[in-house]
Every structure is written in C-alpha cells, then in structure tokens.
C-alpha cells in the first residue's frame, strides 16, 4: 500500500523526540451498503475509506495521530507533529522491518467487491418477500445489506510488518407490524467475517421469518411486570448480558487503571462453578473473528473465567505496560481514526449440562427472554441495563404470555454470582459494540442460562 522505505522513515520520525515505540496502521477499506424499504431498493452507496494512523509510546505516554494524506511529506509531517507531544528520554530504536507472512484463518470464498450488485439485491428481495408474507399485519420491512473489505498494513519499531485482509458481510432485517393502533418491530441481523458466500447461504426463511414473528408476537404482548424475577436468557444473542455485565469489565481499558470491579482479582472466585467465560477471535469466520488484531498480534482463545475462577483479561500492547502483563491479541479499532485498545472479539459462556427443557421446567415464576436487544454498562460501577426484544412470562415450569417493554438492570459482578443453570445449546449472535476505540463487529454467545434474580423494569408495575 505504501513503500516499506517510507514506512521506515515515518517510524523513525515518530521516535525523533524520545519515544520508545512507534507504529503505523494503514487502512484501505471498500464498503458497499444497499437499503431496501417499502419493497423498493432505495439507497445504494459504495465507498473507499483510506487513512494512516501513527502511534507513539514513551513509557505510559500514548500519542496518536491520523491522516488521509499518504504522501511521504504528509506522513512525515504527521509523525513529527505527534512526536512533539512526547517528552521522553527514551532511546527508541527501529528494528529492521521483517515481513511476516500470515496464513489467514478465515477463508473468504467470494470477495464482495467482485460480486455484482444485482446478486446482492436478489437476496434482499427474497428476504423482503419472506418477511412481508409472514403475516398480513406486517406493514413495513427494511432490509439492509452491508459488505466491507478492509485491507490493513501494520508496521512498528519492533520490526513488525504484516498485512491482513478482513471481509465482513451482513444482512439486517427489520419488520414492523401494526394492528391499526399500535406498532411493534422485530429485528434480526446475521453477519460473518466472510464473503458473499455467507449471504447466499443464509437461511432466509429463518432470519426474515423470525424478524416478522417477533414484531407480530409483540403486537399482542402484555405489559411487562416490574420486580425481581428469575430470568431465563436464551442462547445466541442472549449472551449480550455477559458482554455488558462482565466482558467490558475484563478489558484492560478499565482493568489497567483499576477502574473495573474485576481489577486485581485474578485467581478469585467471581462466579459459580458452572460459569466459564471465553473470548476467542479464532472461531472460523465468526462476525467478531480476526486473524491478527489491530496491532498485528495473532488472535487467540483467551479463557477469562474458568469454572468460576477469574483467569485473565483482554490486554492490548499499551495497557500491558501499565499492567506489567503480556498482550493477548485483543487490540482493536474501528478504523485508522481510532487509537486501538483492548476489546472483545467473540465472547461466550461455555456450554454446561442442563437442557433448555429442564431449565424452563424448573422455573416457577419468572421471565423468559427469548431475544435480547442491546445494552450498556458503566464499567466503573458494573451497573448494566439492557432491553429484551421478545420476552414471556414463565409460570409453573411453562412458557406463558408474551410481554413487552422489559428492561433488565443490575450489577455485573453480582449477576454473575447468581447464574444457577447453564444449558448445553451454545450459539453465537452478531452485534456491534461501541466503546472508546469505536464501533466494532463482535459476537456474543451463550447457551440458554438462568439467573436466579434480576430486576426487571416494565410499565405494568408490581
């Protein structure tokens, strides 16, 4: 993308004021986005994101600059401008760049850039038809198709020089149902670190059908009661609860500065024995997967909690300095515009032994959360909240009436202690996670599980 000799000069200019580490991240990304609404293909845009991020460390100083100017003069100027902020006495040395050849672990069969728009639109129309025909109360369907081909080159003063191609494809379906008075919506958005083969092989009857089924089901739903209930959270995207409740608190971003409730607690029992929590960027072609992270480290399987014991954190190169630890292949950024930091990839609760039937049958009076919406956490306190997209009452071991407007709130560290059943049906769901280094594709996952008590906020009252 840019000549090696220019990169070497930029890395050197970045260290000219005493920094001890410099890095160049070059990104050249191609994006296509198509939207279908009201049965019509309404919007289609394609584009190219291109820019260079330069990072310098001096001890615990972290300086970042980015530019879309790719001329040698422009890059050297940007590196020098960033270096001005460094007041280090370090004697940064540039090791000769060694090109590293990495074997991609996520195979891409059909690069989306080479696939004609017409084929993408054909899949969208098919999904639209399925979602529309699901029920006569479906009033509106929106289909959004997105593909991205991100080419990166990462080089640093330690001699790293590595390139990677990341390809993401996603189809999102939103159905709106109305009975003439009320409106409700349902959403499903499968995605993968894969090419057009993923889109073409999608089970559209399942995904588009589910989006419409959720919307129609919620039309007839009762108001959600408020109070403390045992909550059964179904598999796949249900894992968003632990993404918010624990995952963010295990990122070095908050652990390094002791602002996480999980800081300095390695080896402690933080959850019941049945809980094992893993972040694994190597899962083949999953939405949150990568071959190398955004500072060029190989991704790996990081066991965070094993049988209830806190085992590890997700750590990037910079926070590794503050924590005196090794980086774990967890450094990510949305684009060259973001200084990378530790983030999740595919995070999930490992499967246990209970069957879903057993879990439901053993719940007397609770809530069954079939599909989750998104959520949020305050990493300093661990207080989280998230929305339930499709929920039901559970009475005497049986699933009852659908309920709407359920929000779950609580404290991550406490909720983790209250997991009392873990099912055997692990599955992963695709989402976007927004945090300090931008918005990133991540998978959340879990088998069906039960938390003995969560505060449920609804409109019906107690």
């Amino acid at each position: 993308m840019i000549k090696q000799s220019i990169i070497e000069n930029v890395l050197e200019a970045a260290l000219s004021t005493g920094g001890d580490f410099s890095e160049v991240f070059i990104e050249d990304k191609f994006v296509n986005s198509i939207e279908l609404q009201s049965d019509k293909v309404e919007r289609s845009i394609s584009g190219r994101d291109f820019g260079i991020g330069i990072r310098i460390f001096s001890g615990l100083q972290n300086v970042y600059t980015y530019t879309s100017d790719f001329t040698e003069e422009g890059l050297l100027e940007a590196a020098k401008r960033a270096a001005l902020a460094i007041s280090g006495g370090g004697n940064g040395i540039i090791h000769p760049l060694q090109k590293e050849i990495i074997k991609p672990i996520h195979t891409i069969a059909q690069l989306p850039q080479t696939v004609e728009h017409a084929r993408k639109v054909a899949v969208m129309r098919k999904a639209n038809g399925i979602a529309r025909n699901y029920d006569e109360r479906i009033r509106q369907v929106g289909i959004r198709y997105v593909d991205e081909e991100q080419n990166v080159l990462i080089a640093n003063s330690e001699g790293k020089f590595v390139e990677d191609k990341r390809v993401h494809s996603r189809l999102a379906i939103q159905s709106t149902a109305s009975d003439g008075v009320e409106m409700q919506s349902g959403f499903y958005g499968p995605g993968a670190h894969a090419g057009f083969e993923f889109i073409e092989n999608l089970d559209l009857h399942h995904y588009a059908g589910e989006a419409s089924r959720i919307a129609v089901t919620m039309l007839g739903a009762d108001e959600c009661p408020s109070g403390k209930f045992p909550v059964i959270i179904d598999n796949e995207f249900g894992g968003v609860i632990f993404h918010e409740a624990c995952g963010h608190g295990l990122e070095a971003t908050s652990v390094a500065k002791n602002t996480s409730v999980f800081a300095n607690r390695i080896g402690e029992k933080v959850a019941p024995d049945i809980v094992t929590y893993i972040d694994d960027g190597t899962l083949p072609n999953e939405w949150g997967s990568l071959t190398i992270d955004d500072e060029g480290e190989r991704t790996r399987k990081n066991v965070l909690i094993e049988n209830g014991i806190l085992k590890g954190y997700m750590i990037d190169k910079f926070n590794a300095r503050r924590m005196n630890a090794e980086a774990t292949g967890s450094s990510r950024r949305q684009s060259y515009r973001f200084n990378p930091t530790s983030r999740m990839t595919n995070t999930y609760i490992a499967p246990g032994e209970s069957t879903p039937e057993e879990i439901i049958a053993s719940t007397e009076n609770g809530i069954y959360a079939k599909y989750m919406g998104g959520g949020q956490v305050n990493p300093a306190t661990g207080d989280y909240n998230f929305a339930v997209a499709e929920a039901y009452l559970v009475k005497d071991g049986k699933i009852g009436r659908p309920i709407r407007g359920a929000t779950l709130i609580g404290n991550g560290a406490k909720t983790l202690q209250l997991v009392d059943k873990v099912g055997n049906n692990l599955a992963h769901g695709a989402g976007m996670c927004g945090s300090v280094s931008g918005s990133l594709p991540v998978n959340v996952g879990q088998p069906m599980l039960r938390v003995s008590e969560i505060t449920v906020g609804g409109t019906k009252g107690e």
Partner: protein, 447 residues
C-alpha cells in the same frame, strides 16, 4: 491534488458518462484530543482528514459514492461506483439536485480566537480540571474519564446546477467523569461543556459540578417500584428527545415508521409543550446555514403549545406532500446518503425554576441521567424502558439518591404528560436541548 480542480474534473466526467445532474460534497476536518489520567497525559491525538462524496442522477435515479483517497483513480472510482449504485435502484423516487435558495444566513460558527488557543493552554486547563475534581472531596477515588477535544471543519457543496456553498465551524468540548466511593458503594458523576469561547470555561465550576454529581449520588436507598411524578432534568430530557427524534422525520412517517403520520394540526402534547429546531441558536455549538442538499436552513416550530405544526422535511419528502423543504436534509458526512435530521432541536423553555417544578410534588423522582437509550427505546412503538439515575423527592424537596432504576413509558404519552417546563434550557453534544421538565407520571422500577 487540488480539490477545486478535482471537483471540476468530477462534474465534467459525470456529465460525459450520462449523469443529468451531479453534486460533489467535500469535507476537511482537523481535531485534537487529550486525555488526562492522574496528572499525566494518558493519550494525545491529532488528526487531519477529509473526503469527497459524489451523488448524481443517472437515468433518473440517484447513485452515491465516496472516497477518502484522492488521487488520479478516484474520479473513475466515484463515477463508476455511483453509476452502478444508481442502476440497482428501483424507479425514480423524486430525488434531485438543488439549484439553490434565494437567501442564506451568514451566521458564523467559527471562532478565530478559539483556533489560536495553544495546545499547552488546553492541556494545562484540562489537567487543572482533573486536579480540582480529585480534590473536591476525599470520597472521590478516581477520575475515570477526563478529556478535552476540539475540532474544526470545512464543508463545500458544489453541483452542476450552479450552486456552490461553503462553511466553516469549530468548537471545543470537555468531558469529565469522577468515581466516588463510600464503603462498598461506588457512583460516578460527570460534567460536560461545549463552547467556542475558551475563556468562559472555568475549571473550578466544572470540577465542582462533576464532584458534586458523584458525591451527591452516594447514600442511595431503595424506594417502592410504582408510578411516580417525574422531573426530568434538562440533560436527561434532552437525551430522551434525541432518542425519539426520528418520530419527527417526514421520511419515517411516509414509510409508516412514525405514529405522527397524518397528525399535522392535531394536539399531540400538552399546552406546555413546544418543540423548536433552530440551527442558529446561540447556546448550541452545532447548526448549519445550508442543509445536506444545499437548502437554506431556518428556525422551525415543530410543535406549538402541543399542536403538531410540521414534520422535518428534505426536498424529496416535501415534494411527496406538496410542501416546501424545511431544510432538514442531512448528510452525516461525505460517506452518507441523504436522510433527515434536525439542526438544534429543543424543547422551548418555560419560566419555572427547578425548585418551583419540584415544590408541588409530594412524592416523586428527579431523573438526572438515562442510559441504554440506544436499545431501550422503540421509535416505532414509542415505548421506552431505560436505566436511570436520580433522586427521591419528598414534600417538594430532594430527599436522597435512589438505587439504580428503570423508567418506562411511551413517548407519545410522555408528550401528553408534560405538566410544566422549567427555564433552564441547556444543550447536550449532538445538538439537542431541553429545560427540566415535569411529567405527570412514569413507571419506576428500583433495583
């Protein structure tokens, strides 16, 4: 490559390959951000970036493309991309390229003085804010987010109907979040400032606000979960308004995605509730003199004393209803297709102080912060159920902070439940504003 030459070349080539109308939108931005942790620079970021968005009518259909790499190949990349994107669209939907409004405001959103504040002054200032926040009270155990950022941006919109518009804006934002701890109880509190006048920033005042917010949240108690009269503090109210802004978009209404469809002229809120969009409001940092397709912006009354006057329109939605565009075509950046967004949307202030709003409440809840708005709100049904922080009100006065809560309701009911409106209009980043608002009741669930 010179951007003016590039634009000229792009419009010329567009015409040659068969685009009947075409537009080039260019943005160039600079930014600076510094984050402080325990008196040291924790991160320091600068940037210089830009990009070009192209859109054009090809056989009556509007195709889009953008690039951040401006070189010899970019013209072909944009033209070929936009053409392929136009070809895949269904029939003409009324999009066009605009020839220009008669009059444009010359309202300035750029301060030369701000542009000249040195980096060392800015760093010294934000370090001072952190230091003073930590010193506010011994129970402030850390400052977990302390950031100063500033930005400047140039926009240029040029099209082959003879329109050429440009503007320039800058601003500075300060964020600080403090963590307070007492025994096992941990709370955070923050302060945010947006300004174009660096001199008006007062480190003491910012530190006191963040410190006070964190400390006053300590000592929480539970209250019974039920419906309560609510005071939404100005910032919580503005963030709820921001989450429900799509319901005021004519585009959403035309697609059956807003229940305000067909409600123009109807009473949708109480007499105390007026909603205004003012791209020139002096208290808001953002705004614009021309919208995303070059239409002159103006102050728009959306709801007047409870009656819906208009939705937000761009040229396409306005044409469908036989009205004029309200100047709300939005392009979040050169990477975006055209949609609809407000300039500075706010609830019109009333005359009451917060004490007066609270005075008549026997038992109620003051909400100071909402979180989970991106997931706990449905702009389609109007339902919301979101996490909230705040205080219990007893006999017209704040009694104590409440444990983590959720508040739930429906936005359409909410507009009909606004009992009175305070005088303390403030804007949050992103261009949304509100005074504190008293609402008849919402469901409150306490952890």
């Amino acid at each position: 490559m010179d951007i003016l030459l590039f634009q000229e070349e792009l419009l010329k080539r567009a015409k040659d390959v068969g685009f009947s109308e075409a537009e080039v939108y260019y943005e160039k931005s600079n930014s600076f951000q510094v984050k402080i942790f325990e008196g040291e620079i924790d991160s320091y970021e600068t940037s210089e970036e830009g990009g070009v968005g192209f859109r054009g009518l090809y056989k009556g259909k509007m195709g889009y493309a953008y690039t951040e790499k401006i070189d010899d190949d970019s013209v072909s990349f944009l033209i070929d991309g936009a053409k392929a994107n136009a070809e895949v669209l269904d029939e003409d939907d009324g999009s066009d390229i605009f020839g220009g409004s008669e009059h444009y405001s010359e309202h300035s959103r750029y301060s030369e003085e701000l542009a000249n504040v040195s980096i060392s002054e800015k760093i010294a200032f934000i370090k001072e804010v952190e230091k003073k926040t930590l010193a506010y009270d011994p129970r402030i155990v850390s400052v977990n987010y302390c950031v100063l950022q500033d930005f400047s941006q140039d926009r240029v919109l040029t099209n082959n109907k003879g329109l050429s518009l440009q503007d320039k804006t800058n601003g500075l934002i300060v964020f600080i979040y403090a963590v307070a701890k007492d025994g096992e109880e941990m709370k955070t509190g923050g302060a945010v400032r947006l300004t174009r006048d660096f001199k008006e920033l007062d480190a003491n005042e910012i530190a006191n606000e963040a410190g006070k917010e964190a400390i006053s949240s300590l000592g929480e108690h539970s209250i019974p979960s039920r419906k309560y009269p609510i005071i939404m503090r100005h910032d919580a109210s503005a963030s709820l308004l921001a989450a429900f802004t799509p319901v005021f978009s004519a585009e959403e209404a035309q697609k059956d995605q807003s229940l305000l469809k067909g409600k123009i002229g109807e009473e949708i809120g109480t007499k105390n509730f007026s909603l205004v969009d003012d791209p020139f409001h002096p208290e808001a940092l953002l705004g614009r003199n021309f919208d995303g397709e070059g239409v002159a912006t103006k102050k728009t009354i959306i709801i007047s004393d409870g009656t819906l006057k208009t939705l937000l329109h761009n040229r396409k939605t306005a044409k469908k209803e036989g009205v004029d565009s309200t100047g709300h075509a939005s392009k979040a950046s050169y990477k975006s297709t055209l949609s609809i967004a407000p300039g500075n949307l706010y609830i019109a202030p009333g005359e009451k102080s917060n004490e007066e709003l609270m005075a008549t409440i026997e038992e109620g809840v003051l909400i100071t912060d909402l979180s989970g708005l991106h997931s706990g709100t449905s702009t389609i049904s109007g339902d919301f159920s979101v996490a909230a922080s705040g205080f219990y009100i007893k006999d017209g006065k704040i009694a104590f902070p409440v444990k983590q809560m959720t508040i739930a309701g429906n936005f359409y009911d909410y507009m009909n439940g606004i009992v009175s409106v305070g005088s303390d209009l403030k804007f949050v980043p992103g261009g949304y504003g509100s005074p504190s608002v008293k609402v008849k009741e919402l469901s409150v669930t306490v952890d």
